[in-house]
Structure formats: C-alpha cells, structure tokens
C-alpha cells in the first residue's frame, strides 16, 4: 500500500531530447492510474522513471513520501509487467515467479506457498513446471502477472501489458487485471495507447501528449469536459467531430460551415473564431430539413449494435461522424438532417486548443 508522488519530474535524453516536461502527479493509496496517449508521448518513459529503469533528469519521484530518484529499481518495492512479458526463458514458470523472492531472501517454504497462491489466483497451477515458451500468449501474460503479485509490492507498474494479445483475450485480461487490482488493493500505474482500456480500468486517467500531462481526471470527467482539443479528439471512439466555427455577435450561437447556426451556452466573446467539437453520439437524426446540419452520406459502417455514418456537409470541406443505435440502411449520397444537442457542444480556442 503506497502513494506515488511526482514533483516536476522531467526527462531529458543525452542527445537533448526532452521526453517529459515537468509532470506533477499525486497517486493515492490503492488507486488505479492510467497513463494514456499516442505513441511517443512519453507515457512509457514516465512509467520507466517510476520503475527506476530511466534516470530522472530533474524534479522528484517519491514512493510513500520517500524520494526514490537515487534508489535502485530492486529497492523501490515495485513490480512491473512488460508488454512482451519479459519472462526468463531458461527458467520454468515456478522459478520465473520465485526469482524475485529468492533474491530477497525469502525462505523456501514461504516462496513455495506464495508462488502456489499466485498460481491458484491466476489458474496457472498446471503450468508451473513448464517453461514460458511452452505457454500461449495469454498464459505467459499470467505468469508475468504472477511474477508481479507474488511479491506484494507497494506499486504495480504495467507497460501496455495487453497489446500483444488478441482482441478477445485482451478484454478478458482487462477485466481480470481490474478485478485483481481491486482485490489486492495495490496502487497501480498502467500505460496504454488504447483508450477503451484507459476508460475502463482507470480510477484516474492522465492523458499525455508530447511529454506533457494534458489532463488529469476521472475517465468520465475527461470524457465530459476535455480540457483541450487534443484530449477531446483522443478520448472517445469514434473521435469527436471538430468544426471550424465562429461565435455570433450576440454570443448565443456558433456559425459553422455555410452559415449553420448552433445554439450555445458558453461564456465567450462574440465574433471570435473557435473550434466547435461535438461527439458522434451527441448528434441525432431529424426529420428532413428540420435539423441543424444537412449533410450527405459518404460511408456507412454497420457494427450491429450501432451504426457509424460518415458525412460531408457544407461545401464538403467539413465532415462529421454520426453514431446511431441499431442498424440503419443508408446509401452513399443520401441527404440526412442532423440535430445537435446544444449542451454537448465543446468550444476550443483555435490557437491554443484550450477549452473555452
């Protein structure tokens, strides 16, 4: 049980590249924190800094109020699950899990019982004598998890642990990880580029971009009130629609495309050029001509439970995605009329991308 605190943590590589720009973060005891962002945003680097696999260039990282900048990885009392499992190929699965315990001087009977217990939780009891290469991807992932949980560390670190698994297994393991973490109550930091994983696992989500934490909050907070255009576009699938817009002089509307007026309820200066964002699920079909936006179908994706419609509107420069429940039959070039939920419109500064 532990807290993890980052105080202006920075990472600059010897070649001068700054991967992490001063991040402040306080992870509470038992909290499941997810770092999410596109590749190259520094999320893995940040995790590796907490693990001690990357040095910290400036600032401080503390575990349980103890600064660990100079503490060896093995002394930080953390356990990490790697993307490619990183199991020791020459050891059988029992030894893989026992290795960390042996090096910490646990007694033989202690090791035996701890590994058996972890194997029971992860349903690996029948595979302990085998070597990692004799297991399937999902089982290897379990061994890697087992190696982490046998030690009952202060902090779990996960570096995209599910991205090498197939889609179905990924969903199963996702639930299992969440379940396990809640049961053990161990503070966890989880890195992923998959926003579904991020939304479902996180108690608290950190959206990173270019070495900066763009927004920190609960998944729902971030979904409902994205702090920047980047966050708005990254969280939510399919991605939010962005329209170049202008605030009307009376401040009550935004004008998009070829003079389409949308009601808004924002505190914003009239005449200002902005980016208006609306999620595909906050658009709905209206009777012909009654909606706010009239658009033409470009492509349809039917997923069964829902249908995604990609439309062009205005002079064709703008396009929007519409998400409808159930199945719908549309043909290319069908004209549709869409209603926008006014209270779901997000406005972003056109220059800074910040939420208005």
């Amino acid at each position: 049980m532990a807290t993890v605190t980052l105080n202006q943590a920075e990472k600059t590589y010897p070649n001068g590249y700054k991967a992490i720009h001063g991040i402040d973060l306080a992870i509470k005891d038992g909290e499941f924190t997810v770092l999410v962002g596109p590749s190259g945003c520094g999320k893995s680097t940040l995790l590796r800094m907490i693990a001690g696999l990357e040095s910290i260039s400036a600032g401080e990282i503390s575990i349980d109020d103890k600064v660990v900048n100079k503490v060896a990885p093995a002394d930080r009392d953390i356990a990490m699950v790697f993307q490619n499992y990183a199991l020791y190929p020459h050891m059988n699965n029992f030894d893989n899990m026992a290795y960390g315990l042996r090096n910490r001087g646990y007694s033989k009977t202690d090791i035996e019982s701890k590994v058996r217990e972890a194997a029971r939780i992860l349903q690996l009891e029948d595979h302990l004598e085998r070597k990692p290469r004799q297991l399937s991807g999902g089982q290897r992932q379990r061994v890697a998890m087992g190696r982490a949980i046998v030690r009952q560390p202060k902090v779990f670190l996960f570096d995209e642990p599910l991205s090498n698994l197939d889609a179905k297994l990924r969903v199963d393991m996702r639930l299992e990880i969440k379940n396990l973490q809640q049961r053990l109550g161990i503070t966890s930091v989880y890195v992923t580029h998959d926003q579904v994983e991020a939304m479902t696992l996180a108690d608290r989500l950190i959206v990173m971009n270019g070495g900066v934490a763009e927004q920190i909050g609960t998944p729902i907070d971030i979904y409902e009130k994205p702090a920047t255009k980047f966050v708005a576009g990254f969280i939510g699938s399919p991605a939010m629609n962005f329209l170049t817009a202008k605030v009307s002089d009376d401040c009550k509307h935004v004008i998009v495309g070829d003079g389409v007026m949308l009601d808004i309820d924002h505190d914003v200066a009239g005449g200002q050029a902005v980016t208006a964002g609306i999620r595909p699920e906050h658009l709905s079909l209206a009777n012909n001509g009654d909606g706010h936006i009239n658009a033409v179908v470009r492509m349809v994706e039917s997923l069964g439970a829902e249908t995604l419609v990609y439309l062009d509107f205005g002079s064709g420069a703008d396009n929007v995605t519409l998400r409808l429940q159930g199945t719908h039959q549309f043909a290319k070039n069908d004209a549709l009329s869409l209603t926008v939920q006014a209270d779901k419109i997000h406005l972003f500064d056109i220059e800074t991308g910040k939420r208005i």
Binding site: G52, M80, Y88, P89, H90, N103, K131
Partner: protein
C-alpha cells in the same frame, strides 16, 4: 505426411558440383590417402613401401613422444578454450555496457580477428625474442627467470598466450552478439527482481548465453587442435624438445621433416578419430544441457 515431389532436373546437381569437387579433391581424397598410407611402411628414401597392417598404430601409441604430445594438446586446447572464452566474455559484457564510443570500442576489440595465425605467431615470436622482445625483457626484469627457449612450461605459456590472444576477438564477436540478442526487457525485469548485478549475471545473463558459450567451446577446441599450427610453427616450432608440439604439429614434423609417412598418417588417422569422438560427445551430452 506426403511430401510434395517436384520433377527432377540436373540443374541442382550442377550447382552443388563445384563444392563437391572441392571437398573431394581437398578433403576426401587426402583423407583416404592418409588412411591408406597409415597401413604402409616406407623405406627411408621413399623408394618402396610395404603393407604392415596396424604396426604404425602400435608404434605411435607406444611412443613416449606421442603420448607426451597428446597430453600437451589436451592441456593446451583446454587452456586456450577456457582462457579465451573467459576473457572475451568479460570484454563483451563490459563493451555491451559502454554507451559513449561503443562502436570504436567494439571495432578495436574485433581487430585481432583479421590477424592470420602465422602473423600472430610472428608477433609473439618478436615479443618473446631474447634479444629484443619487450615481453621477454619485461618478465625477466620482474624477476621471473623466464626462458621459453629452454623451459617447457615457459614455452607452453608463450604458445597459449598467442593462441588465446588470437582467439579472443572471435569469441568477443559471438558473445557481444549473444548479449545483444537477450531482450532488453528481460534484463530490465531482472533489475527489478535482483539488486546485485553480479548475481543477475550468473542467474540470467550467463544461462542465456549458454548456447553461445557451448558453440564457442566447440569452435575453440577445434581451433586449438588444428588452427594453431601456424602459431606454433612460427613461434616455438615445438621446442624445447617437442614440449610444445600439438598432435597436428607432430604429424607435420614426423611426416614432412622426419619423412615417416606411414607413422604420420597413422597419427592423423588417430587425430581424426579423437576429434570425431570429441564432437559427438559435445553434441550428445553438453548441448542438451545448455539449450533453453
């Protein structure tokens, strides 16, 4: 399972023909000749020969100089293999950790590979020359009474040193690539699990390098057996009194200098048998234990 059979044509045989020809002319035919010669006894002038069955073998096996050479060969080979593997493993592990100027380090450490064995022998010969050799002088100035011309142990030390030096760079290349073949995440996982770098090396890195080490052991023993001929011929020539003559060198001395073709052929046949047994043993018993 039924194999797919394609129509046969002569073209593939044409492609392998040059290789088969080379092997036949330079390997199979001489080997057959050696076996044949080993049953013959020739007169001193090479004018006539007579079939003597296994007498040559009996002579060889009962000769004191042959057993002495065999013992030296075993000590020499094991020493060369173990010492050069140890040194190059150490160098490879250290060079793998270097970040700045890694390429220059590695290139320099590999350079020795380009030196031909006789050249290495010549270099050693010069360094241990009693008149101008720096190492010879250095050893003696430290108070060792070093004299490889007369002392068998000192002479053995010289040939082992040269042979090891020549082989370190080859082993280094294999160990370095072996080290780089260990996934970085596995090593990182180990740093989380084990604080002591030394313990990590023996429990993770070294076992993962075991197949490489085994391969090098085979290569190095073969090298020490056969390829060190050039080194010995240029440096000690088997002196003093045959103390540094490996079996291969002795085959050459007895056959080409001593003109005992039958005896030297018998020796080379014995050598062939020994190496075959060694190879079978290595692959049967050791290889099984090193692969993970």
């Amino acid at each position: 399972m039924k194999r797919v059979q394609f129509e046969h044509s002569a073209v593939p045989y044409l492609f392998v023909a040059p290789q088969i020809l080379i092997i036949s002319i330079f390997f199979l035919w001489p080997a057959a000749q050696a076996v044949y010669q080993s049953f013959l006894l020739e007169d001193a002038f090479g004018m006539s020969s007579q079939f003597v069955w296994f007498r040559n073998f009996e002579d060889v096996l009962s000769s004191a100089s042959w057993s002495r050479s065999a013992i030296f060969t075993v000590i020499f080979s094991v020493a060369v293999a173990v010492i050069s593997i140890t040194i190059s493993l150490f160098l490879a592990v250290r060079a793998d950790e270097v970040i700045r100027g890694a390429k220059s380090y590695r290139t320099l450490l590999m350079w020795g590979y380009a030196v031909a064995p006789p050249v290495a022998g010549l270099l050693g010969n010069m360094m241990f020359n009693p008149l101008m050799g720096d190492l010879y002088k250095a050893f003696n100035s430290f108070g060792f009474e070093f004299n490889h011309i007369q002392n068998a142990n000192d002479a053995a030390f010289v040939v082992i040193l040269i042979a090891v030096w020549k082989q370190v760079s080859v082993n280094f290349i294999f160990f370095l690539s072996g080290l780089q073949g260990i996934p970085k995440s596995v090593q990182e996982a180990a740093t989380l699990d084990c604080k002591s770098a030394e313990r990590r090396f023996w429990t993770i890195t070294f076992p993962l390098l075991a197949p490489t080490t085994f391969f090098l052991l085979v290569i190095n023993l073969t090298y020490a057996f056969f390829e060190t001929f050039g080194i010995i011929d240029v440096s000690t020539k088997g002196s003093p009194g045959g103390a540094t003559a490996t079996l291969v060198y002795k085959v050459y001395v007895d056959g080409f200098i001593g003109a005992d073709l039958g005896g030297s052929s018998a020796q080379s046949v014995l050598l062939m048998i020994m190496v075959s047994i060694l190879t079978v043993f290595q692959f049967r018993f050791i290889e099984r234990k090193v692969h993970y």
